[in-house]
């Protein structure tokens, strides 16, 4: 162990992902985002075990006098809505909808975007023209209106919300991945792989994609936040998740006429949307710095 270069003294980690994690750890905002996301995920995953028992079923309507629009109390820490449902419980279960929609929508975008983006970037020419011009068509429509139009065709439902958001998300992913591939493709190690006798598929999958994926991880993370916002917006407009399923956007929509009479109805779902989306964006930002090889200490 005599000929170690100095880089290894400060860098005990031996993998690229280990290095990235080490850099990410130093970013306080990204870690705050990560902690918040982990917290929300833990809450939603464990919700069935304790939330209904402690604070009441998010769907349980309570028409007893004084039960509706109750301000925050020990029994109902976030208060109750006009149907007497526990707001805390609804916010927690709303996280389930938001995160599921966010992750599934981005997964759909990634599946389509990565496939088309890689074909476009690697083969160029004709395929590139078709893919990129279709992407341009998607970009030419106002995003929210396009989403509403898609929902109008598919019918408003939980499933159709993430399908619509997912379909709308692919052009950005494809574009980011394509440009990333175009730049990675020019690297000498790709020529070296070809000179080694590797086939097109192998070069693409083994040599180009792993090097081109970093921007996608960053963009994908941020997109989850974007998808959550879009879900909230669609639900707010009545084109998303349908009542009585708790969704943050839907809760805001229900509460908008009571904004001043019962502010807790808007504050908590709003706070949940804000912090969750912000966390994903901060995480994405942190990942961008952590995965940037040029910033290697």
């Amino acid at each position: 162990m005599t000929l170690r270069d100095p880089g290894n003294v400060t860098a005990p980690s031996r993998t690229l992902w280990g290095d990235a994690w080490r850099r990410l750890r130093k970013n306080k905002f990204a870690i705050a985002g990560l902690v918040w996301i982990v917290f929300i995920v833990a809450m939603t995953l464990s919700a069935d075990l304790w939330v209904p028992a402690t604070f009441g079923d998010p769907l349980a309507i309570n028409t007893a006098p004084g039960a509706s629009l109750a301000p925050p109390s020990l029994e109902h820490p976030f208060g109750t809505d006009k149907l007497g449902r526990d707001v805390f419980s609804r916010v927690v279960y709303g996280a389930r909808v938001s995160l599921t929609v966010g992750v599934l929508a981005v997964s759909i975008s990634l599946a389509i975007g990565l496939l088309l983006g890689s074909l476009s970037g690697y083969y160029g020419k004709f395929i590139d023209t078709i893919v990129m011009r279709s992407a341009d068509v998607f970009f030419a429509f106002p995003y929210i209106l396009f989403a509403i139009a898609l929902i109008a065709v598919l019918g408003p439902s939980y499933r159709n919300v993430f399908i619509a958001i997912g379909i709308l998300g692919w052009p950005s992913i494809a574009r980011v991945f394509r440009s990333s591939i175009l730049s990675v493709k020019e690297n000498e190690y790709v020529d070296a792989a070809r000179a080694m006798g590797a086939s097109d598929l192998r070069i693409m999958v083994r040599h180009i994609m792993p090097n081109a994926i970093a921007p996608i991880i960053v963009y994908g993370t941020m997109s989850v936040g974007g998808a959550i916002i879009t879900e909230a917006a669609l639900s707010f407009l009545g084109m998303g998740v349908q009542p009585p399923t708790p969704s943050w956007g839907l809760m805001l929509s229900d509460a908008k006429s009571l904004m001043f009479a019962a502010p807790w109805l808007t504050i908590w779902p709003g706070f949940a949307i804000l912090t969750t989306v912000l966390s994903f964006v901060l995480m994405g930002d942190g990942l961008r710095d952590a995965l940037d090889v040029k910033m290697k200490d």
């Binding site: 162990m1 005599t2 000929l3 270069d5 880089g7 290894n8 860098a11 031996r14 993998t15 690229l16 690297n187 000498e188 190690y189 020529d191 070296a192 792989a193 070809r194 000179a195 080694m196 006798g197 590797a198 086939s199 192998r202 040599h207 792993p210 090097n211 090889v293 290697k296």
Partner: protein
């Protein structure tokens, strides 16, 4: 006996918006097993494209090999189907790239990268390939090869990366090793080590080497044959001794004259070749070198010089290569350095 590699009249052109670039225009040479050929020339003279053409790695659709044949053990590489060429690449003909900093894939461990061609061509398992990679790293002089094989390229220094590249190229025991300026990106102290290593590997494996370089000093000791290129054309080709001690082409004279020397005291003055290499889109008519040639005459401006055989194995593409009067005149002119400018 037929040559290991025989290249005849190779021409590779690139189509660009400004016109056709004749990057390689009529290059011929042969390479026997275990020998070293040095390809020498300025930047843009077509050295690298020659190498890429042999590997059939010229980027289509803009780059096309338009003429010639590349006979590997008698089979024309240019006529083979893609799958067969892929089987040869990395297995029988391997290449070392110029910049070791960028030619290793940053996301793979070094050992894994060296083992890849073994998995591709020799059907080794990942584990076997990795073990072999450790042996190869050891062979090219990497200390602690078992540990270093698990390192990522960014943990290697430039010289070590080039050693790793050499290990990678030698993994399948190739017949031909093409090295495209393997030492250009390295420190001078490392350069000598790398060249020495390549020669050592050649002695051990018997691979033939095509060494591409713009540095004549690099090839003097180690090349058996030298090919000098200028503007995509082969200007002089012959045994190393003949090129260095008895060159026939004015461009080769210029190249040799522009080398820094420590055996002649001329107050450290270098003799560069005046002017710039021509654009490959508008190659000067006649001899491409005539605008820069101190001995150019009328015929040089109009007629493309043929490759004239000055001895059995030595050709020079200058109109006057076989003209003893011309060489005698130059010898006189060179004795009086001032006279060269007015000639």
């Amino acid at each position: 006996m037929s040559a290991l590699l025989e290249v005849n009249g190779l021409a590779t052109h690139f189509t660009t918006r400004d016109g056709v670039v004749k990057a390689v225009d009529g290059v011929s040479f042969r390479l026997d097993a275990g020998k070293t050929l040095a390809v020498v020339g300025e930047s843009g003279s077509g050295k690298s494209v020659t190498a890429l053409s042999i590997m059939r790695l010229v980027a289509k659709p803009r780059g096309n090999i338009v003429a010639g044949e590349v006979l590997f053990k008698g089979d024309d590489l240019l006529k083979m189907d893609d799958a067969r060429v892929r089987d040869l690449r990395g297995d029988r003909i391997a290449m070392i790239f110029q910049d070791p900093m960028t030619s290793l894939n940053p996301v793979f461990r070094v050992g894994r990268q060296i083992g890849e061609s073994l998995m591709l061509h020799k059907g080794m398992s990942r584990k076997e390939a990795f073990e072999r990679a450790i042996e190869l790293l050891d062979m090219v002089g990497i200390p602690n090869p078992r540990d270093r094989a698990r390192d990522y390229p960014h943990q290697f220094s430039g010289g070590m990366r080039q050693r790793a590249m050499i290990a990678m190229a030698l993994a399948c025991d190739p017949d031909i090793l093409i090295a495209d300026e393997p030492t250009t990106a390295l420190d001078v102290t490392i350069q000598a080590q790398i060249l020495e290593l390549m020669m050592e590997m050649q002695a051990r494996t018997g691979a033939a080497i095509i060494m591409i370089t713009h540095d004549l000093g690099v090839v003097a000791d180690l090349a058996d044959d030298v090919m000098v290129m200028y503007a995509g054309k082969q200007v002089e080709y012959g045994p190393s001794d003949a090129i260095f001690y008895d060159p026939f082409h004015p461009y080769t004279w210029g190249l040799l004259d522009s080398l820094p020397r420590h055996d002649v005291d001329e107050k450290g003055v270098l003799h560069p070749i005046t002017g710039q290499p021509p654009s490959l889109i508008n190659v000067p008519p006649g001899c491409a070198f005539h605008p820069r040639c101190p001995f150019a005459q009328e015929v040089c401006e109009t007629d493309v010089p043929p490759a004239l055989a000055v001895t059995d194995a030595h050709v020079s593409a200058c109109h006057f290569s076989t003209d003893p009067e011309f060489r005698r005149g130059v010898a006189v002119a060179c004795a009086v350095p001032e006279g060269v400018e007015s000639a």
